[in-house]
Symmetry: C2
Subunit: 250 residues, 2 copies
DNA sequence: GTCTATATTCAGATAGAC
DNA sequence: GTCTATCTGAATATAGAC
């Protein structure tokens, strides 16, 4: 039985290609023929190895999230042990959570920017099976970090922290996922996302340096004022102040 | 010729239903049969009125974005005129931009939360025709607000402002779009998104009150420090500090 | 494990009667 | 403007030879 070295990793080749195609075109718009064609394997191979297309997507995420979830817990454990009972600083919690994620972007073996973009885009996908999958994959880690954040900000109400965790996830996912779209929307001035020359700072590093201060600033922002009076300092939607507007009949 | 009142607004009914379905299932996963079935109109009606499915999606957005874009410019114009040459405060710019958007969520005639969610989700859609459409629809408004932000923060480099505008768009879109998904991910503690009882604060208002301080905090956060030395204060991805890691072969 | 061939279903779109 | 009927293509998935 001689070497069929190339044949044996059909499974991995499919996963690599699927990851790229799902990122580029979205889950629905990526057909199994596109995947198997680009991977140079037979159409039936996907069903043989994964059963169905949905399972393939789940497996694409599983192999990356396994590392990410483990790493996030390891880093948080290490920080908490180091702090010996004291609450962590908010910046430490954010670094552990977002830094670990962005690290994936620097390492092709962990999925690189391709996977990060896929992750950011897929998180907003409305498909039921996808959101159910993410909910179960993320539950434990999010809960741990939520608790760490709550301890790190004793003066901020729990509910407010959860909102802000939500906002931070959004800012990050979008920043990563939106490469093409928001690039165009926000103009061409941004330093290039792509083209990570070895030697220079990686794409993920540049993103991290800008994102972290933003997130920290948002997380520690003054609390909203809920006191009775309505139009107190202008946190209302601007349009809400005008009245008697007519809605043109299109 | 007696009243065929109900027949004449087939076009609008299709748009209303399509908006809801695209939001709930995504563009690709929504078939024209689903839309026409739920709208109670004939399958051929979509092609008759809009030509093709892609055109239908564009029209769903056009009728809402027309109001939004106009309103955003009106509000910004009014603020700038009122300031008579002086730069606006960052909070004013944010209110004008995000408040106008969130106002849609309070008014069913403007699309309500259904449209806001659809918008948030669709912005990350990778389809080429969708991103091209948004780029052209948004170009003018984004440019105006970008300039207003740059004037309002004279000490912050232009590039940094563009990054942060990007992050803000992400935080907001995600917060809106992620109702189902991130609800689950971040736990059940958040005050309910849905169920806007008239009399109480609307969903959009509650979101606005939390989002605005967060965005403002992020926008005005201290700048990242780019000075030479690498590991200065820990803004690196946490995982990047460890070395010699092995990547298990799956 | 890999391939061909095919079953089955469903998509978007249109022709043409009314 | 609306409907029925249908064209055409492409999707996922599987049976069965090798």
């Amino acid at each position: 039985m001689p070497d069929n070295k190339l044949n044996s990793d059909t499974r991995e080749r499919i996963l690599d290609v699927a990851e790229r195609q799902f990122m580029a075109h979205g889950y629905d718009a990526t057909s199994m023929r596109m995947i198997t064609g680009a991977a140079g394997v037979n159409l039936a191979a996907v069903n043989y190895h994964f059963g169905a297309k949905e399972e393939l997507l789940r497996e694409v995420f599983r192999r990356r999230l396994a590392w990410l979830n483990k790493e996030r817990l390891i880093v948080l454990d290490a920080l908490e042990q180091q702090a010996s009972g004291e609450p962590l600083k908010p910046s430490q919690v954010l670094e552990a959570f977002f830094g670990t994620l962005l690290h994936i972007g620097e390492d092709e073996a962990l999925g690189g920017m391709t996977f990060l973009r896929l992750l950011g885009r897929t998180l907003t996908d409305p498909s039921a099976f996808i959101s159910a999958f993410f909910a179960s994959e993320y539950a434990e880690v999010i809960e741990r970090y939520k608790q760490a954040l709550i301890r790190s900000l004793p003066d901020v109400p729990r509910a407010e922290i959860v909102w802000r965790l939500h906002f931070m996830l959004g800012a990050m996912s979008y920043a990563i996922a939106g490469t093409d779209i928001l690039h165009v929307i926000t103009g061409v001035e941004m330093s290039d996302y792509a083209g990570q020359e070895p030697g220079g700072k990686s794409e993920a590093m540049k993103l991290s340096q800008r994102l972290m201060p933003f997130l920290l600033g948002g997380l520690r922002a003054p609390l909203p004022n809920f006191s009775a009076s309505s139009a107190q300092n202008g946190l209302l939607p601007a349009g809400a102040k005008r009245e008697g507007e007519e809605v043109k009949k299109q």
